[in-house]
Amino acid sequence: MKLKRRTFLKGAAATGALVGLGATQTEFPFQGLMKVDGSDQTTKKVFQNACPRNCYDTCSMLTTVEDGVIQFVEGNPQNTYTNGTICVKGNVYPRTVYSPDRIKYPMRQKGRGSGNWERISWDEAYTEIAENILKIKKEYGSTLPICLNKYSGNFEIMHYGIEGTMSSIGYTTRATGTPCWPAGIDAQTFDFGTILNSDPEKMQKSKYIILWGVNPAWTAVHSMNFIEAAKANGAKVVVIDPILTNTAGKAHDFIQIKSSTDGALALGMAKYILDNGLFDQQWLEKNSKGYREFFGYLDNNITLEWAAEKTGVSVDVIENLAREYATTKPANIWIGYGMQRHTNGGQNVRAIDALAAITGNVGLEGGGANYAQLDSWGFNYHAMIHPPPEGSEGEANRPVNMNNFAADVLAAEDPPIKMMWIAGRNPVQQDPETTLIKKAFHAMDFVVTADLFMNKTVELSDIVLPVTTPFETPGVNVSYWHYWMTLNEQAIKPLHESKSDVEIAMGLSEKMNELEPGSCTYPTSGDLNEWVGKEFNETILEQFGMNTWEEIKDGPVKMKNMEVAWKDGKFRTPSEKYEFYSEEAEQFGHHPLPVYVEEMKSTEDHPYRCITPHWKLSIHSQFQDLDWMEAINDKPYVEIHPELAARHHIKADDLVKVYNEIGYVTVPAKLTRTVQVEEVVIYETWYKNLNYNVNYTVKAIPADMGEKATGMPGIAFHDNFVNLEKV
């Protein structure tokens, strides 16, 4: 039997399935054009899957499996948002599953960071982890010295079992907050009462679309289809961004704004709309609170000249944009996450929300100020919610700020943090202040990481546990942008010795109870397919128009009546109105109105702003590490405007040291006029063979908002100021 290497890798997974089949059949997909005989001897089945990554699109996928081996992953056309297609990252999934780089079995590292790993059994891993937990509990009288850091690596609902693992052993310390989007969440919570966007498929009904600090061509590809549809229906598309992105390349007009001044542009537009009587008085009277105060603020504080000076956008352009936006209905604004990663990001989102409100675009089909939604997430979180063991010390978990993780971990006292459990996160690559993060890891007595690949966080762990891909364990997924729910079926047997996070929780519970009966409340067994059913309740079934949860097995379902956010005018604020004037905002230390808060400025030593947005071939540190992806791109770059490059005698492809007072990153230069002269752009991601990490220069500066809705303020990732040096 002549198996090629990759055929072998795949075949190795299909234990037993190859037996009795000749070589020609098993080689079928790899043989180019050779005809295959006896294809009816193979078993071929198509499974439903869902992409669980931290992404707007949360694709519904179909996976073709033959003889237990994945042959092809494609989009499921039953979901009309993802519309039968998946992105570049979804298309790489067969390689994710069968990558030779996957962590295959539990391992122990002798010396954190040494690379001296040895294979251990699951029983040894569970024993070592359980003994450490019990030792800590004995020494400190509680499990609070154990800290969980879990977040966005996998948003499938059963993966909240990771939090359940910790809850079931007692009260622990939790990395709390969300790095990505909380300033905008709070802003919309003050204005509307919560985040709620219209069904993005309705964007095609818009006549005017402003894509404000969002780059769906790279980060929400399926939405581009509805934007193209709107264009075909005669809509105008305007992109406002510091970078001329691939999305901007598809727009009619592009406005290049100085980073972090979006609020000034919005307020300048609002002033023009006010002065020219283009606002919707009737809507404001009926639906809002405090618009007169807001108009008073505009009258007394805002001029178009000021807005132009702040933003770098001329008065003419602001006037024209404001006039077009206010007079073309319905007009949709999509507010991106990038633009709120600033020390004034939340206020800037409030100012943009206000534009939609004063023009009466809130509650209109094809209108709105669309940011995100969490209304479709009302599951039971059965895998997550478990009581602490009887007699557990303490009353509640202890939060530490996920967005200032290293400093908070190192500063924790009474008791200190001694052990970390990391799952669905890669803080050593992705958190700000990498140097400090490493210090925090080295300060631990014990670090456990569950992951797919040997990433930078695994490198600083004592034990690594191999986890399953979405194709190897069942679950259910929803999006924070569209309103579809997709069942994730187990399509293949887990490869190697990988286990799902829930199975890990069960295995650990068994060991804990063996060593100390009653020390862990997590169930020690259960059928994971049944557990998916336990995530459903009456409310969510009704929202999605299902009688029983099993109906999801027939294909993705869409939540009902979400076409137009706030159509009923029942806002979830204390006044049940849209709140220009928010007492809640005031309670959290902000001005009650959407006012301009000064943006952070560069310094003499660090004169350039460094923006670190998402990269097209990855979601944070996932996907770019795979060899299939490396074939498209295998090295990062810093985008520098030719004028700035000339100032530092930098030519194309020269290695450039981008540095500030906390660290540096060295990257080749890409000269481009699509970025601004005083701003450089480096995309955040992880290349497995490169020592490349943008976060050595990124400080854990808090964004202005996030505390109300998510417990902690966000991170002002893009308020990072650097200098350049040709290497």
């Binding site: 790899f30 992105c87 289809n225 592009f254």
Partner: protein, 182 residues
């Protein structure tokens, strides 16, 4: 006149997301360093002011395929419908086609010691399906069509594409609109 199946590349709708390129790899299970479809950035100042626009290219299924002309073992076939296919079992991996093709389409697979290239997913077409790249494009920016039916509104080239006349490429393009920077 015979049919000339080929690709239409709509650079007005292409968003540069690379889904097509990876779908090709996903479906055809290509070795890691082999890419049959590639998304290229069009030089940013091609149309005057800078912008970011892209074009997605695979085999151009030429009327006069240079690969076929160059192949000493007759591994290439120009089908009646115009699709140029490569018969791997006849390939000796000499690489003559790799040098002959002006578009760098045939790829030498070091592991197989043979060449491979896009065959327009002809077996999917024969099954009434679209090529993997076409069916994976989120904005319908690529499609396959009998290009003899296309009029002059379809360009034969875009900036950066080699001279299509040498081999009579059947790929047709829709030009990108250029964003107005205010």
């Amino acid at each position: 006149m015979g049919r000339k199946m080929g690709f239409v590349v709509d650079s007005n709708r292409c968003i540069g997301c690379h889904s097509c390129s990876m779908a090709c790899k996903n479906y055809n299970q290509l070795n890691p360093d082999i890419t049959w479809r590639t998304v290229y950035d069009i030089k940013e100042d091609t149309y005057g002011q800078p912008t970011r626009i892209t074009m997605s290219l695979a085999c151009n299924h030429c009327d006069i395929p240079a690969c076929k002309e160059a192949c000493p073992t007759n591994a290439y076939e120009k089908r009646e419908d115009g699709i140029v296919i490569h018969h791997e079992e006849r390939c000796i991996g000499c690489g003559m086609c790799v040098y002959a093709c002006p578009y760098n389409v045939p790829q030498f697979d070091k592991e197989k010691k043979k060449v491979g290239k896009c065959h327009l997913c002809y077996e999917r077409l024969d099954n009434g399906q679209s090529p993997a790249c076409v069916s994976s494009c989120p904005t319908q920016a690529i499609y396959h069509i009998d290009t003899t039916s296309l009029g002059d509104e379809f360009a034969k080239s875009l900036p950066g594409f080699p001279d299509p006349e040498i081999t009579k490429s059947t790929t047709r393009f829709i030009k990108p609109s250029i964003v107005r920077k205010l």
